[in-house]
Symmetry: C2
Subunit: 395 residues, 2 copies
């Protein structure tokens, strides 16, 4: 299968590219390296010693050959003329396009007007560029788009996978005893996102759903939980980036980075915020399943992609336990929540479809956390304390 | 009251500015004149002989004085640095901001990737600019934002005003007999918009709702029906623009322009598409009511703004009847629908809130149509036939 990965130099992108290459797929990669620059601008860098893009490219080329791997494209989606990405698509004729080329940080989007605008411009206008190019040059290709579970927010009812289900009375979607038909059945489940970043993903969802409905494109829109951990790598050319700063470091990765330098694990607010999580290798597994099981022509489908739900306190507890086994004894500290979010709430999102498609989750999350701490421990002297504690506030 | 109007040179903007000035409000106006340019680029122009911006400005200044009217700002919201609109707001300290500075045509947004991107960049990134400037310099001002009834699409259930109501079983929101609590009550009613323009308004809705929820801004988000007709003018300095081309001419205005040149009234597809309509003077009345009755601090409220619902066939019939009384005998012609939309559908949107606030609708729509035809009849030789029939298709 010919897979075009947009954002191939990123945390998920590089891991996915290598995984797909090893499975024998043809992969073309696009990136503008802006993630490297943005992390650098924050005074941080990947904790794992990732290679330069040129070296990554040379490695993939040597290992898989020019028939299987190609990367000659540096494109900033959503900026400049639309025909640049169109040319790439026309040239490569992908069977599937995995769109990871977005600004992925909520905190980054809340720093200033400039950063909020950059986020929505990169993500929303960039996705528009892609959709129009697909319409013209790859109308049968399968678009895999990474959204976020954060699109839904934390409503006081159950969260379905994308659309409002047939029976919804009482908020329990799956209960077969509920025979009442919901008048809104089939409409998009309402989104209540909590940052300009999360909202940019809601915007993408609306644009992509419309492109499928109007033009007959096919897409899998993935509402992904919080990803943590490293990829499976054979050498340093293959290791993916690992961010732990206040913007690009997600909570579990940040806790593990704190644990190895004996920094308190900083719990934002009460710490009963509950979200879905999955290890990076599960994200790669799910994306591969999705790629190899495309939707029908013209279908827009939503998948909620995560393994299990945890509160921030549970995560902190699991990190402490794993750290203790390695002779580390971090403390946990509640700090004022820089975000505006509910700190105690109902949370019951559906996530059945990927299991039905064959997803075998890593159930040993504690083991994964321990492995992660062991993997990053050699780099503990590179952790910069100043970038961990949040400076960006929501209000 | 100090009212800042963004998009003051437009169809609604200029009418509203004069109306508010006559009511004694202080008004500041911002526009970049891009609507004039875009209509010109289509090979069309306003059928009414609107004055240049400099002359409009001079007229308002002479009539109302520099204390009541000011316009020195030419800003392209969403382009360039964010501090330009921030400076205007800091300088004028408005009590209310009416945001009309958006690309308002569905067809325009579907012409090409370039036009779709321009639409969402102008509208979405422009509104972001505004929200951040309000946060900084006018957090207590009332934002009045023009959305569209088209955000909701045409679902097979009743449409509430903004949010999912308490009781929704069976889809009849207002029925007091329905005691069942909807589990999604209070969440945003799902949007299913039908063009990149309409979706840009959905994006705005999400960004504005979040800005109110997160920062405590106050906003009235107006889901407006299709507006037709001219404003109440005393001389040609006051007359507003009137577009009849395939992009910027809304259906009733286009039918009236067709009637005066004996062009068939072109009904798209089956013609049973049903929408809410209101005359321009009612739109101005409603906006004035909204301005003079602001929401509470931190409140985000949605109003559905239209007088009554009609099918395209009903509109064609009313235009024919009115035209006949003036000695004009247009025929009606079904043409292939350039849009992808349902041509026969359920449509029952709520629109009670504005009536509760004192809106007295113009019930004599046939009289309004006749008056409009009489008003534009002197300019019939200026109608350009080539711009009326749709060239832009949805697929």
């Amino acid at each position: 299968m010919k897979v075009l990965i947009l954002g191939v130099d990123g945390y998920i992108g590089w891991s996915l590219a290598l995984h797909l290459l090893k499975r024998g797929h043809e992969v073309a990669g696009v990136d503008n390296l802006i993630r490297r620059m943005r992390v650098q601008d924050l005074g941080s860098s990947s904790l794992t010693p990732i290679q330069s893009w040129n070296r990554r490219n040379a490695y993939a080329l040597t290992k898989f050959g020019p028939q299987q791997w190609r990367s000659k494209y540096h494109i900033h989606l959503g900026h400049g003329p639309s025909d640049v990405i169109a040319d790439v698509i026309a040239d490569f004729s992908p069977d599937a396009i995995v769109h990871l080329a977005e600004q992925p940080s909520a905190a980054y989007s809340m720093r200033s007007a400039v950063d909020a605008k950059a986020t929505q411009r990169d993500n929303v206008i960039g996705t528009l560029d892609l959709l129009w190019a697909m319409k013209e040059f790859a109308p049968r290709a399968h678009l895999i788009k990474l959204g976020t579970m954060g699109e839904y927010g934390t409503p006081s009812c159950d969260i379905p996978e994308g659309k409002i289900p047939e029976r919804c009375l009482g908020g329990k979607w799956q209960d077969e005893d509920l025979k009442e038909h919901c008048p809104m059945s089939g409409l998009m489940f309402p989104r209540t996102a909590g940052s300009f970043y999360h909202i940019s993903k809601v915007h993408d969802t609306h644009n992509i759903e419309f492109a499928c409905r109007n033009w007959g494109l096919s897409s899998t829109d993935i509402m992904q939980g919080v990803v943590f951990g490293l990829n499976e790598y054979e050498n340093l050319d293959e290791i993916t980036r690992f961010d732990y700063d206040e913007c690009f470091g997600t909570v579990l990765n940040r806790f593990c980075a704190q644990a190895i330098i004996n920094h308190p694990l900083t719990v934002y607010g009460k710490g009963f915020q509950t979200r879905g999580y999955l290890p990076l290798k599960d994200s790669i597994q799910c994306l591969t399943i999705v790629l190899e099981n495309p939707p029908g022509d013209g279908e827009y489908r939503t998948l909620n992609q995560f393994e299990n739900i945890y509160s921030v306190w549970s995560l902190a507890g699991m990190v402490c336990l794993a750290a203790n086994e390695l002779g580390l004894y971090p403390v946990v500290e509640n700090i004022p929540n820089p975000r505006k979010e509910m700190e105690e709430h109902y949370y019951n999102p559906a996530h059945q479809k990927l299991f039905d498609m064959g997803y075998k989750p890593t159930t040993d999350i504690k083991g994964e956390i321990k492995k992660l701490i062991e993997q990053i421990l050699p780099y503990k002297d590179n952790v910069r304390r100043s970038v961990i504690v949040p400076k960006t506030t929501w209000v």
